[in-house]
């Protein structure tokens, strides 16, 4: 087994050095059951993907800032996509939470965490900033108050490089 792990690590190292860390064109499911491709948002500009859940306290603290960024940078091409990993247990509470908070960003569902795993997410919340060419520019796990400063700096750089 060790040789398989070694091969995998070498492949990863090679890919890190020579490959491009681009996201695949992922299908995202809206709350109304309809699907949309990630590429559709990337056509407009950079995309900030946020994985969250209604039972995740740090996620809720972070979302206030995501809404602020969405309002501030949407006319510069930024799209904020909040992907809820709520399972069948709490999926019915997603829409009511978003409405109560008056958040205006797009919300999607990933009830068995398949999109999260495709983007190598492990912790909640996970934020991934994707450039218009599909390259992952920045990512962050967890949330401590103050993290939004770094996030905004990354978003600014992303929208400036696009314009």
């Amino acid at each position: 087994m060790k040789k398989w792990i070694l091969i995998s690590v070498l492949v990863l190292l090679a890919s890190t050095l020579y490959g491009q860390n681009k996201v695949p064109d992922i299908k995202l499911k809206r709350m109304n059951g309809k699907s949309v491709m990630l590429q559709d948002f990337l056509k407009k500009g950079p995309v900030l993907i946020n994985f969250w859940a209604t039972w995740c306290a740090p996620c809720k603290k972070e979302m206030v800032h995501l809404d602020e960024f969405e309002k501030k940078y949407t006319d510069k091409g930024l799209s904020v996509l909040a992907i809820s990993i709520d399972s069948q247990k709490s999926i019915s509470q997603v829409r009511s939470y978003i409405r109560a908070k008056k958040y205006s960003f797009d919300v999607f569902l990933d009830p068995n965490s398949q999109v999260l795993k495709k983007l190598n997410g492990n912790l909640m919340p996970t934020d991934i900033l994707i450039g218009q060419d599909g390259t992952i520019l920045w990512r962050h796990n967890g949330y401590i108050p103050g993290d939004e400063k770094k996030m905004e700096a990354e978003i600014k750089a992303a929208v400036q490089s696009t314009s």
Binding site: S8, S96, N120, P145
Partner: protein, 568 residues
């Protein structure tokens, strides 16, 4: 395993022939823990995701001996190759699909409770804006822990059931409407250890779901029929009035009628709900520890219930949430003159509140918001729980009426405050308080020697308190000290002698820490892609629930855990 290796070799050679054209990414999660009660952990997961034009690939390698929960593995855990072009998608390998609300197909991989309902096989999907068609087939091996089989261990599953599955779905979207019809055939190979025979059973499931998603209302239902008698129904309606929402859901899961003695025996009983049917639970999914430990264990074979939810802004920056959940079994079970369990009267279409129906009720209210110009975030909750977990006796005789059951009732108050000191530093305080009564209740019309209530604890009720204080320095590190305290423990585990750690010994100068579990944790973000976590101390054991499945997790006594998450 051989197939896995060939598949793995194929993918590796496929990628390496032209790696510079590919996009790769990966994630490494490793956990190591050593404790004085031998709850040692050594697990590493390596995920590799790749994509090239229309192709995607995923491999997950595991090296665990032993993992926190589950069986040790050194090798390929999961793999998948996918191809998408236009309306078509093909997936080969380990697939995870979620249909409707999960009444028929809900493939999840929840390693926190060692629940994996994924299927190894293939999926063909064709979709446009209006119609979607899915076909899948494959095999599934479900591992679970049971004391009905030799070698029971609450950490390592000891019983396997194999399934071969194939199914299909046609779904349609029209304006705000979404609907689907679906079918699944499952062939089960079920080992009956008492007679050492493998029973082969076939199951057929047919289902339909319809949902409407409007600007002020959404509603929907899902119905699944399994074999001749079993069925599951779930319906919900949410209404939005301004920023407020009010909603209710209803569940009626009836796949098997099992006596109180057989209710949780998935080894010797065949024919109930399948593990792939992970259905909505209709009670609050609690994020706080004390409420999480008393989560109701849903019986997907026989449960009837509803919930009511209300959520909205009370005043600026404050959200109020309220939920009420009620459920029970469909029918009363009683003992006849020969002490055999017999099915009795039905509770109708709504859940019963009588203990002989294993009634469960929970009320939870929460306030979440900001104060002090947005610098103080608070979350204060209050929960009332009543759950009849087991029915031991229920008899009707000419001269007497008697019953006996085990129940828990709890009042829980969780609170969390986060204060942002400045742009870098923040302080977090968590406090949870719980009064828990758990024991056997006895009722008899005639005088009896049995007391009406016998507590499972050495005291009449258990008082639980959790206190945690943390300091965070954005975006680099955070540290926290957590104390989990109980005033008494259950009789069956009170004899265990604990090995106190140095934090508990220090606190021992302030109070009796024989039932205090304390630990300190530091998380450090080495970079935006690497996070290191170190924990020293003890963690109290207890029930861990997710997706309606609960498992008992052993305490972690006086040791350390190291975790590393790296995105490559």
């Amino acid at each position: 395993m051989k197939f896995s290796r060939y598949f793995f070799s194929f993918i590796i050679s496929f990628w390496t022939t032209g790696y510079c054209q590919f996009s790769f990414s990966g994630a490494l999660t490793t956990n190591y823990g050593q404790s004085k009660n031998d709850f040692n952990i050594q697990e590493t997961l390596l995920d590799i995701n790749g994509n090239w034009n229309n192709w995607t690939g995923w491999i997950q390698l595991e090296h665990s001996d032993p993992p926190e929960l589950g069986r040790s593995l050194k090798g390929i855990r999961k793999f998948r190759l996918g191809y998408s072009s236009g309306a078509y998608t093909i997936k080969l390998g380990d697939i995870y699909e979620f249909w409707g609300r999960g009444l028929m197909v809900n493939m999840v991989d929840d390693q926190a409770i060692d629940l994996d309902t994924g299927v190894r096989g293939g999926l063909l999907n064709w979709a446009n804006d209006l119609v979607q068609i899915d076909l899948f087939g494959g095999t599934q091996n479900i591992w679970r822990s049971s004391n009905e089989v030799f070698g029971f261990n609450d950490r390592v599953p000891n019983y396997e059931v194999d399934h071969t599955l194939y199914g299909g779905r046609i779904a349609a979207n029209y304006h705000q409407w979404h609907g689907a019809v679906k079918y699944m055939q499952v062939n089960e190979e079920h080992l009956l250890p008492r007679i050492d025979t493998i029973e082969k059973v076939g199951h057929q499931l047919i289902g339909v779901n319809i949902e409407y998603y409007g600007p002020t209302t959404d509603f929907g239902f899902e119905y699944v029929k399994k074999d001749a008698k079993g069925f599951g129904f779930y319906g919900l309606i949410n209404m939005y009035i301004g920023d407020w929402s009010i909603g209710t859901s209803y569940k009626n899961y009836h796949f098997a009628d099992l006596s109180p003695d057989d209710r949780w025996d998935f080894v010797n009983i065949i024919g109930g709900a399948l593990t792939i049917q992970q259905m909505p639970t209709l009670f609050e999914q609690h994020a706080t520890r004390l409420l999480g430990r008393i989560t109701h264990q849903i019986d997907y074979n026989d449960e009837l219930g509803f919930d009511l939810r209300l959520k909205g802004p009370l005043f600026q920056n404050t959200i109020f949430s309220f939920s009420y959940a009620s459920s029970s079994r469909h029918k009363e079970w009683y003992l006849d003159n020969n002490w055999n369990w017999i099915m009795g009267g039905s509770s109708g279409l709504l859940p019963s509140t009588k203990p002989v129906f294993n009634a469960f009720r929970e009320m939870y209210a929460e306030l979440e918001g900001y104060l002090l110009n947005g610098n103080l975030h608070y979350n204060i909750g209050s929960g009332l729980t009543n759950d009849v977990t087991d029915l031991y006796l229920n008899r009707y005789t000419d001269s007497n009426r008697s019953y006996s059951y085990e129940s828990l009732s709890a009042t829980t108050l969780p609170a969390q405050f986060t204060y942002t000191i400045n742009q870098k530093f923040s302080l977090e305080l968590k406090y949870e308080y719980q009064e828990l009564k758990k024991g056997v209740n006895t009722y008899s019309e005639l005088p009896t020697n049995m007391p009406p209530f016998t507590s499972n604890f050495l005291k009449d009720k258990q008082i639980n308190r959790i206190f945690s204080v943390g300091l965070g320095r954005s975006p680099l590190w955070s540290m926290s000290l957590m104390m989990d305290y109980a005033n008494t423990e259950e009789r069956i585990i009170v004899d265990k002698v604990r090995d106190k750690n140095s934090i508990e010994e220090m606190l021992g100068n302030l109070w009796d820490t024989s039932l205090t579990w304390a630990n300190m944790e530091i998380s450090y973000n080495i970079s935006s892609n690497h996070r290191l976590t170190v924990m020293y101390g003890s963690q109290r054991g207890g029930v861990l629930c997710s997706n309606g499945v609960c498992r008992y997790v052993q305490p972690f006594e006086n040791g350390f855990k190291i975790g590393l998450i790296a995105v490559l």
